[in-house]
């Protein structure tokens, strides 16, 4: 019996294993599925994944901690990542980063007290022609001005 994973997540993991010659290769899709169920990947979920794929727990743990998109602790309802790399900086991303911190009252790597937003910086997101930009729950918000940023952050609920 799985500790925390839903039937739906387990079946999505099982489905992923059919796309590869071995179970281990289904690790990334499995962890994506776990994170979309739980919002993060906790220790119980890691054990469930290890059992579902029949691989050692360390295999799961090292992957969770290696990739930046996986979180092993609860985070805010919305993930907001602002690109800090060169192309965006050349177009003034420093001002966008400062404004985001000021608006939310938190630093990068932190979550607002109400648990609504986790603010982070990110490396180049392949949106260099429309910088400054941010990444938010799988979508891009591009050509940012301070007004556009404040409006976007203000509308998160």
């Amino acid at each position: 019996m799985a500790r925390v994973l839903s039937e739906e997540t387990l079946s999505s993991i099982k489905d992923a294993t059919t796309r590869y010659p071995n179970n281990l290769a289904a690790m990334l899709p499995a962890l994506h599925a776990v994170q979309s169920q739980l919002g993060h990947i906790n220790a119980d979920a890691e054990l469930d994944v290890a059992e579902a794929l029949d691989v050692p727990l360390t295999r799961v743990r090292e992957v969770v901690t290696f990739y930046t998109m996986f979180y092993d602790k609860p985070i805010g309802k919305h993930k907001v990542k602002i690109c800090r790399n060169l192309a965006c900086r050349l177009r003034g991303a420093d001002r966008i980063m400062a404004k985001a911190k000021e608006h939310l009252g938190i630093d990068f790597g932190e979550t607002t007290a109400d648990g609504l937003v986790t603010l982070e910086t990110d490396e180049c997101l392949a949106s260099c022609g429309t910088g400054p930009m941010l990444w938010y729950n799988d979508t891009f918000v591009e050509n940012l001005t301070e007004e556009k940023l404040e409006k976007f952050l203000g509308e998160l609920s």
Binding site: Y20, V55, A126, G129, T130, T139, E142, N143
Partner: protein, 461 residues
């Protein structure tokens, strides 16, 4: 169809043709433009002949290295006890590069057809597309395109009715620049952390799941069908010597009209910048990073390599007039890389630029090799000190010597990707490093906040 604003006037655009159509990403739109005709044709050809055609096209890998594509395919052994694989590298993450994201979102079928042709050429039955985890719209469009391709019989038990079995799977990354390196990508595809492998063996011999594997970039695959539908002469005519085909260049930074442009291979750099609207705000050009963050910087200074024999120095072309292709950029000491061009105006701080890149490489080092893990980390720290005015001459010297111990010392080229810019920036802009040390602060202002404002390039969802 609206006029193509991101190509030279009158240029016969192919790679970005459908980007301007409202539903150019669908199977119907692609099929209407002769899409999948090349695959039908190729499935009736001898696989060796397909590889010979790709070799003759002078197509070179568009992911960074510029390796001849046909030659790479030819390295795959004919006989193999293990299954062979085709892997498309859609993990676009080299700073300054954003062309593949648009191909995936606005014309995914061209890349799928190229991958299918590759599969037939090396006699593989399985394609994996490794797409960057952060991509949203591009991922959804790709998934929809793969489904369409199955529904229409491109993939399945009998590709295009030929009896050839061909499957295609999409694999989502999870945030790691290093997974764009082909062997790290294979590790990640196999469900592990993205640590590059020692080579040899090369992926053509031992790649995904132990089988012979071709790994090619999205744009490379998107070029392949053109060789067979438009023909070799057309393809060679769109490029320069030993650099076949049209080229997508993504330009960002201080030009008036950033965007992804489709141009002939070998277009002079200054003409390309003019095509992108020239340097913004009437300012002048300080430097060009021609092919993504890891490529050595170009300065508008006289360049002997580009001069004709016997030409007096006063008439030498500028380094920033170099023809944009793999060979010419290599000749002037830089690289075309992934064609992610970043243009810097005269108000840009070179130290801040390099410091930004060093922070990036330090963050993305997988930590496997000590020259990279320590070298990128300490370089980033020293550059931050120099930029904020607390650096010393010793820092500048150490930065240089550290880069000497990073170049060519590691399993993959991530360390080189920082060491090369460090050396070229130090050599060409030594005065700016000295100015930071002398004044005890950065002499340049904070940058203007100036988004491009061109909604055409926004994903819109």
């Amino acid at each position: 169809m609206s006029a193509h604003l991101y190509a030279p006037e009158g240029f016969d655009v192919a790679l970005s043709k459908r980007w301007f159509e409202p539903e150019g990403y669908t199977y119907e739109a692609y099929r209407k433009d002769d899409g999948y005709d090349a695959l039908e044709k190729v499935l009736k050809m001898d696989p060796d002949e397909v590889i010979e055609q790709v070799k003759a096209s002078n197509l070179r890998g568009r992911g960074g290295a510029g390796f001849p594509t046909g030659l790479k395919w030819g390295f795959v052994p004919k006989e193999s006890d293990t299954p062979k694989y085709v892997v498309v590298n859609a993990d676009e993450s080299e700073p300054g590069t954003y062309k593949d994201r648009y191909t995936l979102a606005r014309d995914p079928h061209s890349m799928l057809e190229g991958a299918a042709i590759c599969a037939h050429a090396i006699q593989s039955h399985d394609i994996y597309i490794y797409i960057r985890g952060e991509f949203g719209l591009s991922y959804r469009r790709l998934m929809a395109a793969v489904k369409e391709a199955y529904d229409k019989g491109v993939f399945g038990d009998s590709s295009m009715g030929s009896g050839y079995k061909l499957d295609c799977y999409v694999h989502r990354g999870a945030g790691a620049y290093i997974c764009g390196e082909e062997t790290a990508l294979l590790e990640s595809l196999e469900g592990k952390i993205g640590r590059p492998r020692l080579k040899p063996p090369f992926p053509a011999v031992v790649g995904a799941f132990g089988g012979p594997t071709v790994v090619n970039n999205v744009e490379t695959m998107a070029c392949v069908p053109l060789i067979f539908t438009r023909g070799l002469d057309w393809f060679l005519g769109q490029g320069s010597d030993k650099n076949g085909g049209p080229k997508l260049i993504c330009v960002s930074g201080h030009v008036e009209r950033p965007g992804v442009y489709e141009v002939p291979n070998g277009m002079p750099c200054d003409e390309f910048i003019a095509l992108a609207g020239g340097i913004w705000k009437g300012r002048s050009l300080k430097a060009v990073i021609p092919g993504g963050s890891s490529t050595p910087i170009l300065k508008p200074q006289p360049c002997q390599v580009l001069a004709k024999e016997g030409q007096p120095e006063s008439e030498w072309p500028l380094e920033t007039q170099v023809p944009l292709d793999f060979d010419n950029l290599k000749a002037v000491g830089s690289m075309f890389g992934s064609a992610g061009m970043m243009v810097l105006d005269d108000k840009t701080c070179i130290v801040r630029t390099l410091s930004t890149l060093a922070d990036f490489y330090a963050h993305e080092s997988c930590g496997q090799c000590s020259p990279c893990r320590e070298g990128t980390g300490w370089s980033a720290k020293m550059l931050r000190r120099i930029e904020d005015g607390s650096g010393t001459e010793e820092d500048v010297r150490t930065l240089k010597s550290a880069s000497d111990y990073m170049l060519g010392m590691t399993i993959c080229v991530l360390a080189d990707a920082l060491a090369m810019p460090v050396q070229s920036y130090l050599e060409k802009f030594a005065d700016e490093f000295a100015a930071h040390l002398e004044s005890g602060k950065c002499p340049y202002p904070e940058y203007d906040l100036a988004p491009t404002g061109d909604a055409f390039w926004e994903d819109g969802q």
